[in-house]
Structure formats: structure tokens, C-alpha cells
């Protein structure tokens, strides 16, 4: 008897979500971390005039989101590391693509749960009477960025699964690899907020984000199996 890849995917996603919900700390801590960081940014930067405020809002919020996502990505496999669950998963007749997609779905959901509050709070803390900061387009751009970051996040989590210095290695690998996403997300949202719409400049940045997403989702599906299968 063997479950189809789709059944396996559904079972793994459900289990992943349950494992997150049963341990609320795992969902709450990245958001709290983001809030703390936004507060620190506000303290470090002090009072700003409105022209700078827009730039600073995007810079600090996106950076905070990137940091908070790193926290949540790097702990993706923690429930599976306990009691050798991950090894046992490897002894089951699993489709590796199902496992990757299940983890990717999980990371996208958890990432959105971190990303959207971060953007909201960033806009809230930087608001001024004359400035409209929060925009759904920016949320859309951030989610587009998350699509690629999530795939990379799953891969890196699997890469560092057996490494000794996981806590420090993860950010060291994650941040240099994700610089294009940070640049593209900040620049495109800034241009978008300044122009009030999708100009050609914005579109070329979004193209870069889409390229990043495509490359890393493809690489994720192709390479994840190499990280799981030993025999």
C-alpha cells in the first residue's frame, strides 16, 4: 500500500500546520522579533521629515521582514529534528517533491503570517498626517518576494540540518543569497509609492523578483531530493 504524492502532500501540510499550531511560540516569536526590531529602528533613526520617512519606512520594514523570515525559516525543520522524526520520514516511501512542496506551503503560510503584520506595524509606527504609507501593492510585492525566499529557505534549512553551527551558518548563507530580493523589494515598492502605480521601472524590478522566484522554486524541486535521499 502506498499513498499518492498528493495524499502525502496533504498529510504533510496538515501535520506541519498542526505542529506549528500546537507550539504557539513558533508563530508568535518571529512577529515579536519583527516588532522589537521596528522599535529599535525607530529609536536609532530618531525624528525624520516626510520625504525621508517614506524611504526609511520601506527600508526598515523590508529589512525587518527579511530578518524575521530568517528566524522563521531557520527553525522550519525543528519539529522534525526531535526524536529522529526526519530520519523516520526518510525511511518511508515518500515523494521528495511532496515533502518539498509541503514544507514550501508551510513556509509561505507562516511567512505571510509574519510579513503582513510587519508591514502593517511598520506603516503604523512611521505614519504622519500627510503621508499614506500602507499600500496593498507593497504587500503584493512583499508576497512576491516571499515566494522565492520561501523556496530558498526550505533548501537552506535542509542544507544546514546536520551542520554543527546551524544557528550562525543559516544567516551567513541566507543573507548574501537574498540581497537581490531585498534590493528589488525596496526599490520597486519605493518607486511604486512615489509614482502611485506600476511604472516600467517598477516592472523591471518585479521581473527580477519573478526570475528569482522561478529559479529558486525550480532549484528547490530539483535539488531537495538530493538533500533527503542518501541511498
Amino acid at each position: 500500500m502506498r499513498a499518492s504524492p498528493w495524499q502525502q502532500y496533504a498529510v504533510l501540510v496538515k501535520q506541519g500546520l498542526r505542529a506549528e499550531l500546537v507550539d504557539k511560540e513558533r508563530i508568535v516569536s518571529p512577529i515579536l522579533f519583527a516588532l522589537t526590531l521596528l522599535l529599535l529602528f525607530a529609536f536609532a533613526l530618531g525624528d525624520l521629515d516626510d520625504a525621508l520617512r517614506l524611504k526609511v519606512y520601506l527600508a526598515e520594514t523590508m529589512l525587518t521582514a527579511l530578518f524575521a523570515l530568517q528566524v522563521s525559516f531557520s527553525r522550519l525543520f525543528e519539529p522534525d529534528r526531535q526524536d529522529r522524526v526526519f530520519d523516520l520520514l526518510r525511511t518511508y516511501p515518500l515523494s521528495h517533491t511532496s515533502l518539498f512542496l509541503a514544507k514550501y506551503t508551510l513556509v509561505s503560510l507562516l511567512g505571510s503570517a509574519t510579513l503582513i503584520p510587519t508591514l502593517l506595524f511598520g506603516a503604523f509606527l512611521n505614519q504622519s498626517p500627510k503621508l499614506q504609507l500602507f499600500s496593498w501593492t507593497v504587500v503584493g510585492i512583499a508576497l512576491l518576494a516571499l515566494a522565492g525566499l520561501g523556496a530558498l529557505g526550505v533548501l537552506l534549512s535542509a542544507l544546514t540540518l546536520k551542520a554543527n553551527a546551524r544557528q550562525i551558518l543559516y544567516p551567513l548563507l541566507y543573507f548574501p543569497l537574498t540581497t537581490p530580493v531585498l534590493l528589488a523589494a525596496i526599490q520597486s515598492s519605493r518607486l511604486c509609492l512615489e509614482a502611485g502605480g506600476l511604472t516600467p521601472d517598477v516592472n523591471s524590478w518585479l521581473g527580477l523578483l519573478v526570475a528569482f522566484d522561478c529559479i529558486y522554486i525550480t532549484l528547490g524541486i530539483l535539488l531537495f531530493t538530493e538533500l533527503v535521499d542518501e541511498s
Binding site: 502506498r2 498542526r18 526524536d83 530520519d87 516511501p93 515518500l94
Partner: protein, 211 residues
């Protein structure tokens, strides 16, 4: 039928065992013996597919034809871990692993599976995270999962670890029933008394290891 032919394993430069050939037919309980460090647990991990052998072949034959993935027919129980989600309760753990095998199981069937292992208490089975279980309780839950799995091959690495006298006799009976149903098992255990009369074959790894 599990056919292991000419299997060798090398841990980096250290050769653990060489030229190991074992055939496990329905009803077989094969005891893997040898002193500490000879590679008994490693051997089971290789058969389970966790480690790649240096050479040789492991095949599961269905009606004489080689199965595409032998993992469909094998269930592995490691020595020092049980493969349980520690933050989740007993029933959730059972349902997850059996559903991953494609088995549609309802909670009542899970309760029934917990019953012989003395875990079918309303306060224990649901809403009580497994991490609060004692060592023996976790082991019993892992054995309940093993039994629910619709597979003929059990790879047991020190299955008795942490079991009390009562659980031990339950395990004896369940193992006997599994073998009578046409299942088979590879066993690593330091205590052989409970398996007296069930073991059909003993493989001494010390004789198959590198000089």
C-alpha cells in the same frame, strides 16, 4: 521477501561489514548479533535506506519481481529514538504516520491500537503531548505505530528498550502474531530471552566484518 546480497558498508575509511547476504522470508525472525561497535544498528539503518551501502544490493521481491521502493514494505524502529512528534498527542502521531502510508484510519481504530499497550486512557491518548510520556510509554506508542503499519518487514533496533514486564509479553505476542501472519523481522537486541523459540536465524556480524 527481503533479499540482501553481498552487502558491504564503509563508514568513511572504516569498513564495518562485508559480503553480507541475508534472505528474509515470511515468518522469519533474523537476529543480528555481534559485539558493540560491530555495526548492527548501522546495518539496520542501511536496510531502512538511511545510509548508502558501499556495495551490494538490497531488494524487496514481490512475486519474484523487484519492488521499486523497498521502503513501502519496511518499517524501521531506531534504537535510541521513536520518531514521534513530541509536542503532539498519541493519536495524532499514530494517525500521521499511518496516513502517510496511505491508510485511512479513524481515531477509534487508533484507540483500539493503543489499547493492548495500556495507552488507551482518555487522558493519555488525546491532548496529552508525547513529550510528557515516560521512556517506556514512548516506546510502547512507537510499537503501536509499528503494528498499525501495513508492512510485512519490521526492522527492530533494541525494541525492548524501556519496556516493563507487561509490555514485554504484549510485544512477544504481537511479534509472534506478525510472524504468523507472514511478516518477517530483522532484530538487534541484547536481551534474547523474550525471543526464545521465535528466532529462525542468527547472523553474526563479527564474522562478516573487515579484518
Amino acid at each position: 521477501m527481503l533479499v540482501i546480497s553481498n552487502l558491504s558498508f564503509q563508514f568513511r575509511h572504516r569498513r564495518l561489514f562485508e559480503g553480507l547476504s541475508i534472505t528474509a522470508a515470511p515468518g522469519d525472525l533474523i537476529h543480528i548479533s555481534g559485539p558493540n561497535g560491530v555495526g548492527k544498528s548501522t546495518f539496520l539503518a542501511v536496510v531502512a535506506g538511511l545510509l548508502a551501502p558501499a556495495s551490494g544490493e538490497i531488494a524487496y521481491l514481490v512475486d519474484g519481481a523487484k519492488a521499486t521502493d523497498r521502503r513501502t514494505y519496511l518499517e524501521y524502529l531506531p534504537a535510541e529514538a521513536n520518531g514521534l512528534y513530541l509536542k503532539m498527542d498519541a493519536v495524532e502521531n499514530l494517525l500521521f504516520w499511518t496516513r502517510l502510508r496511505g491508510l485511512k484510519l479513524d481515531p477509534n481504530a487508533a484507540f483500539a491500537a493503543l489499547d493492548p499497550w495500556n495507552l488507551n486512557h482518555p487522558l493519555l491518548r488525546v491532548g496529552f503531548p508525547v513529550e510528557k510520556f515516560s521512556t517506556g510509554m514512548k516506546r510502547r506508542l512507537a510499537l503501536a505505530r509499528l503494528e498499525l503499519s501495513p508492512v510485512p518487514g519490521w526492522l527492530l533496533d533494541e525494541p525492548l528498550y524501556g519496556l516493563d514486564q507487561q509490555a514485554l509479553s504484549v510485544f512477544q505476542n504481537r511479534l509472534r502474531a506478525h510472524l504468523q501472519r507472514g511478516g518477517f523481522a530483522l532484530l538487534v537486541s541484547h536481551d534474547l530471552e523474550p525471543f526464545r523459540g521465535l528466532i529462525t536465524q542468527t547472523i553474526d556480524l563479527a564474522k562478516r566484518s573487515a579484518p
